[in-house]
């Protein structure tokens, strides 16, 4: 029963994506809407990303110092470990899990409300491909802006760690900065960016799918929003494993 339902849902998702990825009715309108979505989904997420990153960066640095505090391990290891954790996991997977809550619920509730208030029916009756008109700008806008959020997240997390070094006596600033630069592997940055692009697609497409197929009223919109966030979080974790296996091994 669960397998049948899952397959049916996946089939519906594929058909939905086919409608989403068709040629826009009006390129000018599509580009304008994409810019609007970049502002709404991407730029409006910057404050959240900065706040979370600076604190998590600081916490990672403190925990690294406390856990690897040994005379056998060089002090710069704290900076190195903080950098690798931020590059490999925090700036993409954890950040996207957090954004799945903010952006995913925003998308699912917006599209779900449009469905229950017949705005999507209005688009369909006008002869507009509503899935393409509403969803494609969200996907492209968020996917395009995601690298900016990742880079901001990395930079701010390092600043958080720097704050710990500068304002506490846990680790000397020079050792922290040296650790950030030591044994640097450029691929880790690309690996994080590639993962974040996939996660951005998962967040926007999954939340849009749940919002688009809402039936009923406000209660169902809330449920769709929750389902969208939960499903995209699970898929992010699943694809985290798959992509890590593919890209790092």
């Amino acid at each position: 029963m669960i397998i049948t339902t899952s397959l049916a849902t996946f089939g519906r998702y594929c058909l939905f994506m086919r409608n989403v990825f068709s040629v826009p009715d009006r390129w000018g309108v599509y580009l304008r809407r994409t810019v609007t979505e970049i502002v709404k989904l991407g730029m409006d997420s910057i404050p959240l990303v900065l706040i979370i990153s600076v604190f998590i960066g600081a916490v990672i640095t403190i925990q690294m110092q406390l856990n690897i505090n040994s005379p056998l391990i060089p002090a710069y290891s704290v900076g190195l470990a903080t950098r690798d954790i931020v590059l490999l996991e925090f700036s993409n997977s954890i950040l996207c899990l957090i954004l799945a809550g903010k952006v995913g619920s925003n998308i699912a509730s917006e599209i779900g409300t449009m469905r229950v208030t017949e705005q999507i029916d209005a688009l369909d009756i006008m002869g507009i491909n509503s899935a393409n008109y509403l969803v494609l700008p969200k996907i492209t806008g968020f996917v395009l802006f995601m690298p900016v959020l990742v880079v901001l997240c990395i930079g701010t997390a390092f600043i958080g760690g720097y704050g710990v070094a500068a304002f506490t006596d846990l680790i000397p600033v020079s050792r922290y900065l040296y650790g950030l630069q030591a044994l640097f592997t450029e691929w880790y940055v690309w690996y994080g960016l590639i993962k974040s692009l996939v996660f951005a697609f998962i967040i926007t497409s999954t939340a849009s799918f749940y919002g688009y197929y809402v039936h009923g009223g406000a209660l169902e919109v809330g449920k769709a929003s929750t389902d969208g966030v939960v499903s995209s979080s699970i898929f992010i974790l699943l694809f985290d494993v798959i992509l890590t296996k593919l890209l790092l091994q």
Partner: protein
């Protein structure tokens, strides 16, 4: 003109529309009436292509909707205006943005020309001055009028209205009815209105189709409705004491209620 021939639609083995045939005339206000659950919303959704009938024909000036491909349906829909029960205005757009929306999507006009046309439509529905407001900032009646302006922006050949008076006070309902009737006659549109409102039935019903339990039970105009012998129709239209008294008055004085234009 829209002709419906032998339309059958069922859901999970339960037939909602039984071999239904009807004609909706150009330049007339065509009303679909019936009790809740009678199948009128299913008929309306089938007419606009949101539901696919099991069998039967829906002819838009000879073009059969169920036989059309995706592209043909999309082209046909550009000739259709629709007024939804809840107005279905786009929350993120202003009143002007809502009315300009179909023009932006389907014409290559310059912005100034589109704005001119949108302002004309807003003026036609007596809504000048509200163009910069958002849907949440205007009343339900004004939202309906914006939706009408949006529906006529592309000069549609067919206008569908799903319960245009629901949630409105009687006076605003009459204004919306008058507006729909005027627009229908002025532009020669085939207007199909799905309604429960007996004021609309007796005020603008030039071609009334009464549906009962999925069957077309009665067809006529508002002048014939007072003297119909159809029990189901009488029970539906003259359900309230007020309308019963109106019917009794009309019968006892051997008169008719004049159409709206003649009042």
């Amino acid at each position: 003109m829209i002709e419906v021939k032998n339309l059958i639609k069922s859901f999970d083995g339960r037939t909602v529309l039984h071999d239904l045939s009807a004609t909706f005339y150009t330049g007339k206000t065509n009303l679909i009436i019936g009790q809740s659950g009678s199948g009128k919303t299913v008929l309306m959704k089938s007419l606009v292509g949101l539901l696919r009938p099991d069998s039967g024909e829906i002819l838009f000036d000879g073009r059969n909707l169920p036989d059309m491909g995706r592209t043909e349906i999309r082209n046909l829909r550009k000739e259709i205006g629709m007024l939804f029960q809840g107005s279905a205005l786009f929350d993120s757009e202003t009143v002007l943005g809502n009315v300009m929306f179909p023009l932006t999507m389907f014409t290559n006009q310059r912005y100034a020309d589109m704005k001119k046309r949108a302002m004309f439509c807003l003026e036609r529905v007596n809504l000048t001055g509200a163009e910069s407001k958002y849907p949440s900032e205007i009343s339900g009646g004004m939202q309906k009028r914006v939706a009408i302006a949006r529906a006529i922006a592309l000069n549609p050949k067919y206008l569908f209205c799903d319960e245009p008076n629901s949630g409105l006070d009687p006076r605003t309902s009459i204004l919306i009815d008058e507006l729909l009737s005027d627009i229908t006659h002025e532009y020669g549109i085939t207007t199909v209105i799905n309604t429960h409102d007996m004021n609309s039935v007796l005020g603008i019903g030039e071609n009334i189709i009464f549906i009962n339990k999925g069957y077309r039970e009665w067809v006529g105009d508002m002048s014939k409705i007072y003297n119909t012998g159809n029990k189901a129709l009488n029970d539906f239209v003259f359900a309230t004491r007020l309308f019963q008294q109106v019917r009794e008055y009309v019968a006892s004085h051997e008169t008719t209620v004049p159409p709206r234009d003649a009042r």
